[in-house]
Symmetry: C2
Subunit: 325 residues, 2 copies
């Protein structure tokens, strides 16, 4: 590649001091109009751009923010990322996306790299598990936890979904339809969301006067693979007549198992998903689901990132039960 175009190289081209070039390109008043215009014209011609590295080293804002997601094929995460990316473009923020696959080591590496480039803020869906060294990074950047809370030891603001009512309603709805053997697949107890959703499911059962059947309650890592496996198991087991999912990934995985088995989501195994990808309304007359207001979450995230003062606070958004078919 050709040598970098810098204010010094331009200064040399034009036989003036690099300071005059700097001033001209930053539109300082103290430059003779002709000089300024000549410099700007020349800069344009040789394709000059300011070095972000130099600016960062002087302590300027990098205007870079990070987003850590388990993946980006799940439509919930995709829509979150999409909305957040749009909001970032509006604010001239650059968005770096790291996929963690819910792996704590990948998460830590991502945080480290964001710290190195002096990202101004990070929005993250914390992976299940713990890490000691992450604290360093969490202290150096403004970090927002999304959807889940991981007890990192450092208090961070968080954007959460209040799905207790929606989950209880899901149980009530199925019970009203006559279901007694209602299964649940959710995330394990390492995640706050796993604990609270399971609790909500149980509260729903209690309200409906149904005794919990341990065989019908499965928890594990919040992956599509897990949802698929557990749903398959439940289908083979032939005990459950209804299934509620407590997670975005899990829900898609479980739905996959149903479709593969040729079961309609309203059929012998009544299904309530989690999250509301567009295609849920198109499948077999429509999939009932817990709908989460993605866009609101994303806007709140960028709003928080934009705030200089960073309040440690929980922001909760209500999920609703969407009954279809």
């Amino acid at each position: 590649m050709s040598p970098r175009v810098t204010i010094k190289s331009i200064a040399k081209d034009l036989g003036i001091s690099h300071m005059t070039v700097s001033r001209a390109l930053s539109n300082h008043p103290n430059v003779l109009k002709e000089t300024r215009e000549a410099i700007q014209e020349h800069a344009r011609k040789v394709g000059y751009v300011k070095s972000a590295a130099a600016k960062a080293m002087r302590g300027d804002e990098t205007r870079i923010v990070g987003l850590l997601l388990p993946n980006i094929v799940n439509e919930f995460y995709a829509r979150f990322a999409n909305t957040m990316a749009l909001a970032c473009e509006e604010q001239s923020l650059q968005l770096i996306i790291h996929l963690t696959g819910d792996d704590i080591a990948a998460e830590e590496k991502a945080l480290q790299r964001l710290h190195e480039i002096q990202a101004q803020g990070v929005v993250m869906v914390p992976a299940p598990g713990h890490s000691e060294t992450e604290l360093t990074h969490l202290r150096a950047m403004s970090v927002i936890q999304l959807i889940r809370q991981s007890d990192t030891g450092e208090a961070t603001p968080s954007i959460l979904v209040n799905d207790r009512t929606a989950l209880k309603n899901a149980v009530a709805h199925l019970a009203a339809e006559g279901h007694k053997n209602i299964a649940f697949i959710g995330a394990d107890s390492r995640l706050s969301s796993g604990r609270s959703r399971l609790a909500a499911f149980r509260a729903g059962l209690a309200s409906a006067g149904i005794q919990e059947e341990p065989m019908l309650v499965c928890t594990g890592p919040p992956s599509a693979e897990m949802g698929l496996k557990q749903a398959k198991r439940l289908i083979e087991q032939k005990k459950a007549t209804a299934l509620i999912c407590g997670g975005f990934e899990i829900s898609n995985g479980a739905l996959n198992a149903l479709m593969d088995a040729g079961l309609s989501p309203s059929g012998p195994m009544a299904f309530v998903g989690y999250g509301d990808p567009s295609f849920y309304s198109w499948i077999g007359g429509g999939v009932s689901t817990i709908s989460v207001p993605v866009e609101s979450l994303a806007y709140k995230a960028v709003e928080l990132l934009g705030q200089a003062a960073f309040e440690i606070q929980e922001h909760r958004f209500d999920a609703v039960l969407l009954v279809r078919s």
Copy 2:
């Protein structure tokens, strides 16, 4: 925030020269083992990370690559981004995603910012249209065009889909089923992909001995909105009995129109989509579609980014017609 931890601040803490610290933290051999360990221990304790800005300014690789996409909710783009992000994590590359909304101004701004931070490479789905100033950035970074080719004036390598055969097969398949009024919605002629897909559709008609009906061929910006609008129009018009889509966004928009109108994709308006999101196999017995090998494209992209020498070359991947229902 607390003042930044640097090699100098550590040097002062320990009463030694900052060079010894630098060497210790870079594992240079010429440091006394005890000194090195003491330094590393201290660095860990105070949460030191190397400044990426300082490294970049010295001319080190930034290990940052950019990805410019119209959006990331379309499952094709999401899967591409997901695969590419995974490949990047493997290679310790940081992926910056900019959404352009197929807008040339947004695209240019994104390229400028990537240029400023000295991104090593960029993969982009070029927006329709032209821009003069983009050339500057294209010359400064390794740029790969994805799916579409925009004549930027600067030759860049590109990763393309060879869908001619698949599109011709789609027409042949519909014709074999007895359809004579086959509609097509595609991107307009500003994009190479728009031109070539329309040509393939026409070649298919010719092979099937069908005369083209101008009312049934629509082109425009490659958006879901356009697909929705044109499909609606075709449905109302009641002339077409089959519809082929020539674009990812267009396909989802058109399918949306069909579902909204209560039409099964195999029903009165036989549908062939473009791209193969997972839910296409679950809707109304399955949606026939032109399937594109996303993962192969993404791996090729990262492979090309990794190459120091940048051959100007076209890489083509075959699409196939997937008949369902």
